[in-house]
Structure formats: structure tokens, C-alpha cells
């Protein structure tokens, strides 16, 4: 299995290197779909220049990356392209390994269940065979590496690639069951862009499950583990933030990074839902709607965690998707990250997935066209562009809910049999309501 993976990595790196050398790179790095004010490479360069001049990079309103990133690129600025390619490679390998490991667990669980005759007889076809599962890790890695969205954001040197790498490492360490590393990577991801905070619940659920600690609010062992994890998570977060302070010598970065993410002052159009609303809104409603919009990201954690408490890995996927839809400055790179787990769930119901992928594809083609009409030709206006943004987000939401539905349906079939009968004996179907 190592040979195909190496080949895949080589192909991916070649494609990226070729694009870096072509004239497209400049064009891509200007596109609002690919870079956001948070992740634009141009802004990182500006921050570096300010840092070199001995000025705080956060003076002025250009640079919004975290201090660690800027110190990282302080040393690596000449090797930026390699760094970004490396980040993608790390993400892919981490995903590959974690999916492989997870598959093993699923398979083991399945075996136990089979031996205990827990599955109904007629749903044997739903059970995964090792042959099917053999290629899933490779497919996931391929899906991430050769995804045009990922390639675009890598070529644009969007720092979103680094965030994805951190999140992938978090997933890997969680699935391997390494509590400390999981907490550290999660805190790094949170430090980068707040929103991964919501992955905390999923990680906890998984680690609890792995250590055979039941989720029971009255049990001491449950609380003890939660406290341990919270301590590690908050501790490393504290260390990282403290480190940033000592590197920079001021707290400037807090309002400039997190304030910028949460209060959304930059309304440059992007593929998210924020800019249009807040450009239209009366100033005195701003705070209220800001809260409403931001709560959206965090709110889904609770119901999803309750519903999916037996399947924390799927919960991680759902959370990533929700973040990429509702975050304040989304880019296509985030979306690529949220698609990565798709192979696991797509065992049933492929009509919608096909339809939704078509919509996503068409939207990706329409973004530049409507942007051209609005900004260059001046004949269309922001409503045209926002309409496509909405469609794009609706498609994403449909996609996510579709996976959710497919996943639930599979679980239901596994416990109740594939051919459901109504009470009167006629064939029944499952409906998501």
C-alpha cells in the first residue's frame, strides 16, 4: 500500500510545483474564493515586512495571522512553496494513517458483532469486507491531494493549508488514542482559528470510548477523564498563547486575530454567508446578528454530540463540515478539508450526492464568471454573486445532511435489518424528518 501512496504524493507535488511555476499562480492567489483576509499570503508577507522593520505586525489592519505562523515564516519565507506542499502532504499522510487505523477498529468491532450474532441476517451486504476497506485510506488521501479546491488553496499559499494539516494531525493522534498529542494539536488548531474548539466534544467522546469509560454524568471516572483532557487542552492553549506573547512582547494579536474572526470587520466578498448580510445591516443590529451568526457554528455541537455519541469519528467529520459552512471567512480550502471523510459514509443514497456535487461544480464555475460581471464588467452586482454563494452553501448543507441521513440509515439497517416491514407487512421506507 505504500507504493500507491508514494506515487500519489509524487503526482500531487508535481501538479502543485508545476502550477507554482505557471502564470496562473498570481491569478489564483488574488481570487477571493481561495484566500480570505485571514489566510492570504500577501498579508503574511506584509506582516513579515513589518516585523523586520521592528514594528508590530498587527499595527495597521492588514495582518491577521497568529504570531506562531509569522515566526514560522520568518525562518521559512524562502521555502514557502515547499512548506505549503509539505503541509498538504502531511495532511494527506495523517488522514491516510488515521483512516487506516479507524478501519481496523471498525473491522474488529464488526467481527465481534458478527460473532455475537448481533446483526440481522439480511443485512450482510452492508457489512464491509476487508477488500472494500483496503482502498479507502488511499481514496481519502487521493481525494484530499488531487481535489482542485486543495490544489488551488495550496497554489495560492493560503495558510488554510497549515490549519488543515494541524487538524489532520489532531484527527490522527485522537484515533491513535494519544490523549496528550490530541489535546496539543486541538489547542494548536483552536489557536489558529477558534472554531476547531467544537471538535473538543467529539475528541472526548472518542477517547472515552477507546478507554472503555462510559459516558455517564454520575460516574467519577468520566469526570476525571474530562478534567484530565480539559487540563491538557487548556494548559497547552495557555502555553501557546503565552509563547506568542513572549515572542511578540505584546497582546496586540488577541484583538487582531480573534477579534477579527469573531467581529467580522472585513466584508470583502467571499464564499461565506457573512459579508452580504453585514454589508446590508444597520449598525445597531450588528452585534445581535453577529452573535446569532457566530453561535450557529458552535450551536450544532450539542445536538450532534448527543445524536452521534456512539460514532465520534463521524461527529468530527460533521463538525468540520459545519465549521466550513458557517465560519466567518471561509475559503475553498476549508471546504476541501470538510469533504475528506466522505468515503466512509457514502454507502447508500447516492442520488442526492450526485446532484449536489453537480451543483457544487456549477457554482465553482459560476463564481469567477459572476465576479467578472460584477467587478470588471460592472454590469452585474453583488446580488448575483451572493445568489451563487447562497446556492453553494445550500448545496454544502444538503451534502452534509445527506451524509448524515445515509449514515443514520445504515446504522438503522444494521440494527433492524435491511428489509423493513411495516406492521401490516408491507415494505417500509425510512424518512428523515
Amino acid at each position: 500500500m505504500a507504493a500507491p501512496l508514494t506515487l500519489l504524493l509524487l503526482v500531487a507535488v508535481t501538479v502543485r510545483a508545476a502550477l507554482y511555476r505557471s502564470s496562473l499562480a498570481d491569478l489564483i492567489s488574488e481570487r477571493v474564493e481561495v484566500v480570505s483576509p485571514l489566510t492570504a499570503w500577501k498579508r503574511v508577507v506584509e506582516g513579515l515586512a513589518l516585523l523586520d522593520l521592528g514594528v508590530s505586525p498587527y499595527s495597521g489592519d492588514v495582518f491577521h495571522e497568529t504570531p506562531l505562523i509569522i515566526y514560522l515564516f520568518h525562518f521559512l519565507v524562502d521555502y514557502a512553496e515547499i512548506t505549503f506542499m509539505l503541509a498538504d502532504v502531511i495532511t494527506a499522510v495523517a488522514l491516510y494513517l488515521s483512516v487506516k487505523d479507524y478501519n481496523k477498529q471498525v473491522f474488529r468491532k464488526q467481527k465481534y458483532a458478527l460473532e455475537a450474532d448481533r446483526y440481522p441476517l439480511d443485512c450482510l451486504e452492508l457489512i464491509r469486507s476487508p477488500k472494500e476497506m483496503q482502498y479507502i485510506p488511499l481514496k481519502v488521501a487521493m481525494f484530499y491531494l488531487l481535489n482542485p479546491f486543495t490544489i488551488l488553496s495550496c497554489v495560492a499559499k493560503s495558510t488554510c493549508g497549515l490549519n488543515n494539516a494541524v487538524i489532520a494531525l489532531f484527527v490522527l493522534s485522537t484515533i491513535k488514542g494519544n490523549v496528550l498529542l490530541s489535546a496539543i494539536f486541538l489547542s494548536l488548531a483552536t489557536y489558529q482559528s477558534i472554531y476547531p474548539l467544537t471538535l473538543c466534544a467529539a475528541a472526548l467522546l472518542y477517547l472515552l470510548q477507546r478507554q472503555y469509560i462510559p459516558v455517564n454524568l454520575r460516574r467519577f471516572s468520566f469526570w476525571w477523564f474530562v478534567a484530565q483532557y480539559a487540563f491538557m487542552y487548556l494548559g497547552s492553549l495557555f502555553v501557546i498563547v503565552g509563547l506568542s506573547f513572549f515572542l511578540l512582547g505584546s497582546w496586540d494579536f488577541l484583538p487582531s486575530v480573534y477579534g477579527f474572526i469573531l467581529s467580522v470587520p472585513d466584508l470583502t466578498p467571499n464564499i461565506g454567508l457573512f459579508w452580504y448580510f453585514f454589508a446590508e445591516m444597520f449598525e445597531h443590529f450588528r452585534l445581535f446578528f453577529l452573535c446569532v451568526f457566530q453561535i450557529n457554528v458552535f450551536f450544532y455541537t450539542v445536538p450532534l454530540s448527543i445524536k452521534l455519541k456512539e460514532h465520534p469519528v463521524f461527529l468530527i467529520f460533521m463538525q468540520l463540515a459545519v465549521i466550513s459552512i458557517f465560519k466567518s471567512y471561509p475559503t475553498v480550502g476549508d471546504i476541501a478539508a470538510s469533504f475528506i471523510k466522505h468515503h466512509k459514509a457514502s454507502s447508500a443514497s447516492s442520488l442526492n450526492i450526485f446532484l449536489v456535487s453537480c451543483v457544487l461544480l456549477a457554482c465553482s464555475a459560476l463564481f469567477p464568471v459572476l465576479w467578472h460581471l460584477w467587478i470588471y464588467a460592472g454590469s452585474a452586482n453583488s446580488n448575483f454573486y451572493y445568489a451563487i454563494t447562497l446556492l453553494f452553501n445550500v448545496a454544502q448543507i444538503l451534502l452534509v445532511s445527506d451524509y448524515f441521513y445515509a449514515f443514520l440509515r445504515r446504522e438503522h439497517h444494521l440494527s433492524h435489518g435491511l428489509y423493513l416491514k411495516r406492521k401490516d407487512g408491507s415494505e417500509a421506507t425510512l424518512v428523515l424528518k
Binding site: 442520488l351 461544480l361 464568471v369 452585474a380 444538503l398
Partner: protein, 605 residues
């Protein structure tokens, strides 16, 4: 949501779509065409109205008196033009200076990729002369442009005369709040391109020009004047610009309003408007006017010197004087008054023209169809493609699962091959002209056009069954997947095209959608191949040329039509090279490969 996730209703919907697919497609096509033809029917259209308040209720008086003197200046210009054998730069500079303008010149030169036989030019060298009338009333942050071309021969002398006459008259008025730039450009669009690029400090086409020495504010609107006779019977308004872009409808409204006020006959597409919309001939007249606009817009080329302004967010139109055999004539004074009125209203603008429509079609100068009304016609055609896709939802996944890597390859190779053919069609004609001229008895222009046609035809003969080499057998699902990909590709492509240039998208959809809908390997080969060739992009262009001539009431014989067709192709390639028109690359790199995919499906074994 319910419809998508409830399996029962979904199944019912799918079975309905599958059973009635063909009839629904036919109905959609008919409805699309009928909708389009209905657009010209007057009760379905809107009357034009002025949306911009700053140009609406404010009254202006037109007092321009010096039409005769302007014609005299025009004659003087013509004499100096003949003497100089081109742009009489010194005379123009002196004349403009004596009228109190700040005068500047700009030199430019450009080598065309191949000789332009229509306009007989290859190495182009010229000079633009422009004078700026500084606004006395306001900070000079905005400007208006009035331009007239310096054309070879006896054309457009009167336009320059009127331009200079207006400059002299405008100089003595105190109410100008915007700079007014009077521009005389040489070599029509090439000069205009050089001037605009110089004005905005951009260089998109790799042309050589000297930088501008003087500038006004940001240009808000521009008019280009074409006038070749002392008196005219009517004025024609030309709106279509580069890539089918149109100026804000308010500019057309402004022109129409002043023509009504002053009592000048005005036309668009050279067609007067008629009042008998309820008669057959009245309706067909409106259809002709609209069709002419659609064809001009679809060609993607600038139809007047104004066409390049639109790229810079500047609303612009060309006003053409037409002298025909009517009794009623309009003299130069009236034309001057009309322009004076328009400029005074434009002078009142407080912001850029943006209130009215940018996407519209005009069946007559007083009526228009907005995007909301004409898009459904395209939507109905595009719906056919979606219907053809919708009945095979599971195909892709099952195909990927059963056929694996060779299956993917057998679909991928036709895609790659047809796109490579497209790239060849795009690059070879210009690169191979020298070789072609050496080996064949043709001129450079002919060489370019004939190479393009040759590459196009050669594409048809490409190996079509590469999948058999790869997999050793023709898979049953292979062509279905290829068709699915091709139909989706076509849908996205046409959708994007129709947004940028509705006319082009609609004409392409009219011919390509039936192809996409009916092609399978099972239909009779010879007949279908014939139909497909008839409906291919190149033949569409050929028919369009004949139809265009027919609509202009200048029918041509087949041979003349063929020559015209060849020159249209060369002009298309030139437009791309000179002004960055997108139609040629679009057709060569995307539409043609897409059509080749369907061709491939037809010969799938």
C-alpha cells in the same frame, strides 16, 4: 428537503422524469424558442423610461448655432487629411488650441498577427489627438468623452467638424462640472484601444503607445460620433460592445428622449420603430430588429468605436448619421444641438450611470426586454440538459465501482484528445501561417483561416475508439458515462456563457442542446453524423452569416456568403488578438471540444 430525502416521493419523481423524458425535452425546446420569439411582441416588453434622476426632470436648453461653420471646419479637415495622407496632426493641434482646449497627442504602433484584408492594414502606426476642456465649475475629478474617428477616404469628416464646432461652443459655456475630452482617434478601434490603455495605465494587448501627457478625471460616459454627410435622415444608435457588453440602458434612453424632443428620426440596428405591433409585418419588424441585436451581441466584437470603453466601466455608445432617400433631412446644427443636450444632461450626473439595466435586448428603441424576461428562454433550453442528466443518477458510482481504472481511462482519453484538438485549433492558425504561405499559393489571411478550418475538420477524423485500445473491449456503460460528463460540461459551459453574453449562449444552446439530447451510439450513423455536422459550431457561424445578411436586407449569394464567412473567421481571430475578445478562445478551447465529445459518443463501439 422533503422531496429530496423522502424516498417514496423521490422515486415517483424519478419515474415520472424517466418515462416522460423525451416529450418533456421536446416541449422545453419548443417553449424556449417560442419564449424567445415572444420577446419581440410589444405587449410582452417594457417601455423604456429614464431611471436616473439626475438626467430626468432637469430641463436643459440646446442653443448650439454653428452647424454650417462646423461643416466648413469638416471640409478644411478633409483637405488637410488628404494633404497629410492620414491624420493631420499639426492642423488638429492648432485648431483645437485655437478653440481654447489643452491639446495632447499620443502615438501608437501595432503589428497585427496577420494582415487584415478587410481594412487593408498590417503594420499600423498612428496618432491620436485629444483636447481637454477643463471644467470651470467643479474640481476636475470626472470627465466625459466625445470622440470622432479619423477614417481613411472621405468618411467621417463631418463628424470631426461637428466635434470641433461643439468644442468651440462648449468652451464658452460656464456650466460644465466635468472635464470634456474631445478625441480624434486614428485607425478606429486600434487607436481607441491605445488611447484607453494610455488613459488607464494598463496594457492588456501588448501594444506600443506613448504615454498620455494630459488627463482629465475618471471618465463617466463617452459618445462616439460617425457622420459622413452634411445632412442626415436619421441617427442610428449602436450599443453592442466588446464581448457583447452593453452600456447602461439610461444612455439609450437619453438618446431616445432627445431625439423625441428635437424631432430627429432615430433608429437602432438601422431599423425605425413602427407602431403597428399588432400586425404581422409590425411584429416581424420587431423580431428582425431584436435578432440583429442578438447576432451582433453574439459576435462579441465592438460594433463601433465606443465598444472598448465598456471594458473600463465607462458607459458608451456610438451615434451614426445615416443619409438615405427620405424627404425629411436633419442638418448639422440639429445634430449639434442633440449632442449638446445629451452632454448637458450627462454633465448633471452625480454618480455613475447605474440605475437602469445592463442586460437587455431592444426590439425597438422605445422598448426593451430585461434579463428577467429573456433568461427563461435560455433556462428552458438548459433544462433539457438537466433532464437528460437526471435519469441516470446512479450511473457514475456503479461505473466507477465495476469498471475501475480502465473504465475511467476510457472516458478520460476522449476528454483529453478533444481538448488537445481545441488547443491546436486555438494556436496553430497563427503559428503556421508562414509555413502555409511558403507551401501553398495563398495569402497570409487565407492561410490563417484555412488552417483553422483544416484543424477543425481534422478534429472530426480523430481516432474515436481509444477506449478499445485501452480496455480491449467497448464497455456498455462507457459511452453513457462519457455522455453524462459531456452533458454536464455543456450545461455549465452554456450557463456561464449566457451570463456573460446571453446572445452567444442562446445561439449555441439552440444548436448544441439538440445534439446533446439525442446522440447515442445506437442512432443511424450517417444521418446523425450529417445532422451533427450541420449543428456544429462552425456551421452555426455559417448560417448566422447568411441570416445576418438576410436580416440586414442585403442577401448574398452562396459564394459571396462563403467569402464573408472566411472574413468573419479572420476578423474573429483578429479581434481576439487586438482587443482581447473572448469568443474565439471560447469556441476553440471549450465549445468545440465539448461538441467533439458528442461526436465521439456517436461513433462509440
Amino acid at each position: 428537503m422533503g422531496l429530496l430525502s423522502d424516498p417514496n416521493r423521490r422515486r415517483a419523481l424519478i419515474s415520472l422524469l424517466t418515462r416522460l423524458n423525451a416529450p418533456i425535452c421536446v416541449v422545453c425546446y419548443m417553449a424556449g424558442v417560442a419564449w424567445f420569439m415572444g420577446l419581440a411582441f410589444e405587449p410582452f416588453t417594457l417601455r423604456t423610461y429614464m431611471s436616473e434622476n439626475a438626467m430626468g426632470s432637469t430641463m436643459v436648453e440646446e442653443r448650439f448655432p454653428a452647424g454650417e461653420r462646423a461643416l466648413g471646419t469638416g471640409r478644411e479637415f478633409s483637405a488637410h487629411k488628404k494633404k497629410a495622407g492620414g491624420m493631420p496632426v499639426d492642423w488638429l493641434v492648432k485648431t483645437m488650441q485655437s478653440r481654447g482646449l489643452e491639446v495632447f497627442t499620443q502615438r501608437f504602433s501595432r503589428r497585427l498577427p496577420f494582415p487584415d484584408e478587410d481594412k487593408e492594414r498590417y503594420m499600423v502606426k498612428g496618432t491620436n489627438v485629444y483636447g481637454i476642456l477643463r471644467a470651470p465649475r467643479a474640481p476636475r475629478t470626472e470627465a466625459l468623452v466625445l470622440s470622432a474617428p479619423c477614417s481613411p477616404g472621405d468618411d467621417n469628416n463631418q463628424a470631426v467638424g461637428v466635434l470641433l464646432g461643439l468644442a468651440q461652443y462648449f468652451r464658452n459655456q460656464v456650466f460644465w462640472a466635468k472635464d470634456i475630452i474631445f478625441l480624434v482617434n486614428e485607425h478606429d478601434l486600434i487607436g481607441m484601444q491605445a488611447w484607453l490603455e494610455g488613459y488607464h495605465h494598463t496594457n492588456t494587448t501588448g501594444m506600443d503607445w506613448s504615454p498620455l501627457q494630459g488627463r482629465g478625471g475618471s471618465i463617466q460616459a463617452a459618445l462616439s460620433l460617425e457622420l459622413s454627410s452634411d445632412v442626415v435622415t436619421s441617427l442610428d444608435l449602436v450599443l453592442e460592445g466588446l464581448n457583447g457588453q452593453l452600456p447602461n440602458l439610461d444612455l439609450a434612453n437619453l438618446f431616445y428622449a432627445f431625439c423625441q424632443k428635437i424631432g430627429v428620426l432615430c433608429t437602432t440596428q438601422g431599423k425605425l420603430q413602427r407602431n403597428d405591433w399588432d400586425s404581422v409585418s409590425g411584429y416581424s419588424h420587431a423580431v428582425q430588429t431584436m435578432m440583429l441585436m442578438v447576432m451582433k451581441q453574439a459576435s462579441g466584437r465592438p460594433w463601433g468605436d465606443h465598444g472598448l470603453f465598456l471594458r473600463y466601466h465607462i458607459e458608451a455608445a456610438t451615434i451614426k448619421g445615416i443619409n438615405s432617400f427620405r424627404q425629411y433631412k436633419t442638418d448639422a446644427t440639429t445634430i449639434g444641438r442633440l449632442l449638446e443636450g445629451m452632454y448637458r444632461k450627462l454633465n448633471n450626473l452625480l454618480e455613475r450611470l447605474h440605475q437602469s439595466y445592463f442586460f437587455y435586448l431592444m426590439p425597438s428603441l422605445s422598448h426593451f426586454v430585461s434579463i428577467g424576461y429573456y433568461m427563461p428562454a435560455f433556462g428552458l433550453l438548459a433544462l433539457i440538459l438537466l433532464l437528460r442528466v437526471s435519469f441516470q443518477p446512479r450511473l457514475l458510482t456503479t461505473y466507477l465501482l465495476t469498471d475501475g481504472v480502465p473504465g475511467v481511462l476510457s472516458v478520460l482519453t476522449p476528454l483529453v484528445i478533444s481538448h488537445l484538438t481545441g488547443v491546436a485549433l486555438y494556436t496553430l492558425p497563427i503559428h503556421f501561417q508562414e509555413i502555409a504561405v511558403e507551401h501553398f499559393p495563398v495569402s497570409e489571411t487565407e492561410a490563417v483561416v484555412l488552417t483553422a478550418i483544416a484543424v477543425y475538420t481534422a478534429g472530426l477524423a480523430l481516432p474515436h475508439n481509444t477506449h478499445r485500445l485501452l480496455t480491449g473491449r467497448g464497455t456498455e456503460n462507457g459511452w453513457k458515462v462519457l455522455k453524462l460528463v459531456a452533458v454536464l460540461y455543456l450545461a455549465v459551459l452554456l450557463g456561464c456563457t449566457a451570463l456573460i453574453n446571453f446572445s452567444l449562449g442562446f445561439i449555441l444552446a439552440l444548436t448544441l442542446v439538440p445534439v446533446a439530447a439525442f446522440v447515442t451510439p445506437d442512432v443511424p450513423k450517417a444521418l446523425s453524423a450529417f445532422i451533427m455536422v450541420i449543428l456544429s459550431p462552425a456551421c452555426t457561424l455559417l448560417f448566422s452569416v447568411f441570416l445576418f445578411q438576410e436580416l440586414q436586407e442585403m442577401p448574398v449569394s452562396f459564394l459571396d456568403g462563403w467569402m464573408l464567412y472566411l472574413s468573419v473567421i479572420s476578423q474573429g481571430i483578429l479581434d481576439h488578438a487586438l482587443y482581447g475578445s473572448l469568443v474565439y478562445p471560447l469556441v476553440a478551447l471549450l465549445v468545440y471540444p465539448c461538441w467533439l465529445l458528442f461526436w465521439n459518443i456517436l461513433f462509440w463501439k
